[in-house]
Amino acid sequence: MVDAPTAYLAIFLMALVTLGTRVGGAAIMRFVTLSPRVTVFLEAMSASVLAAIVVTFLMNNGTREAAAVGVAILVMLATRSAVWSMVAALLLAAGWTVLIS
């Protein structure tokens, strides 16, 4: 269990960083123009960080989780809906727990 003061310190710091990203883009534009190169860096990083989190999750878990993520990606390709891919993954993981393990 994480102790409460540290937990709230972490939440506060994360909120501060998030606010920084919200105001940072417009603030920077007061002084310089965001170059196309920097824009591409930020775009590529945004997709990369999410993919890296998924891969790390898969490395730390087993077949059930890998199957769920696989189904989510297939459903996303088919429906282009993040909600349906979440639902599909949830159902597969729940079904796996009930039927297999």
Partner: protein
């Protein structure tokens, strides 16, 4: 991207009417935030956050993807620096949104400027940016949309945390895979073609290789930076962004 030629001609205002307009326009869309918020609330309880902590996180952060990402690192002792850097990397796309909308907010006085940007997210950006291109000049429109999403996000989190604590052991319902599924789907949505998938593939490889050798979360930060740098090497992407 921001068009330098319009900067001098925009005279933005910031009124309560603009705020309600922005809020009303996002009322239907905000329904789609509900499943994510409920999933986050349940996953937060599953990860060991208390009801209060998960609620406070949703209220003060209001950034779903980064809140999910933080759950992955919610362990004892809390890796504060890793948490901050992962949240920074996940929310870095806000910088692009803020830069794009800057001509419509930067002429405002500081308190209105902060108000317009404090709840900036993908959804209200998309709506307000389009409205402003079509002639809307009330920057409170962005805050109004943000407030609508923020309310729904908080309500949904509340439903999720109470359902989570009432039901216990949420893994049997599959809640533990929701984050990875959501991120997998989001990544796919951000990669329009195979060429744009190259930096993402490099990032995945870096994340795998560095996972056993770096402290918690740092493999993700390293991978994100690697993906960003590889992305910059694509001259076509740079041309398209210019």
């Amino acid at each position: 991207m921001a068009d330098a030629s319009v900067t001098s001609t925009i005279r933005p205002i910031f009124t309560f009417r603009g705020l309600t307009r922005g809020a009303q326009r996002l009322l239907p869309v905000s329904v789609f935030v509900l499943p994510f918020g409920i999933a986050y609330g349940a996953a937060a309880i599953d990860a060991g956050m208390t009801i209060d902590q998960a609620m406070v996180a949703s209220l003060v952060m209001f950034a779903g993807a980064s809140q999910f990402a933080a759950l992955d690192l919610w362990q004892t002792p809390l890796p504060l620096l890793s948490l901050m850097l992962v949240v920074l990397a996940v929310n870095a796309r806000h910088l692009i949104l803020g830069a794009a909308i800057s001509p419509y907010v930067n002429p405002l006085p500081a308190h209105h400027w902060l108000g317009a940007l404090m709840l900036l997210s993908d959804v209200n950006f998309a709506d307000s940016y389009k409205a402003m291109k079509d002639g809307e000049r009330d920057a409170a429109h962005i805050l109004g949309g943000g407030l609508m999403l923020w309310c729904v996000w908080a309500i949904a989190t509340a439903i999720g945390v109470f359902a989570g604590s009432a039901l216990g052991n949420l893994e049997r319902f599959g809640v533990d895979v929701v984050m990875a599924a959501f991120f997998g789907a989001l990544t796919l949505g951000m990669v329009p073609n195979l060429r744009r998938a190259i930096p993402v593939a490099v990032a995945c490889a870096v994340a795998v290789v560095t996972l056993p050798i770096l402290p918690a979360g740092w493999n993700i930060i390293t991978a994100a930076l690697a993906g960003g740098f590889v992305g910059m090497l694509d001259p076509k992407a740079v041309r398209e962004a210019g």
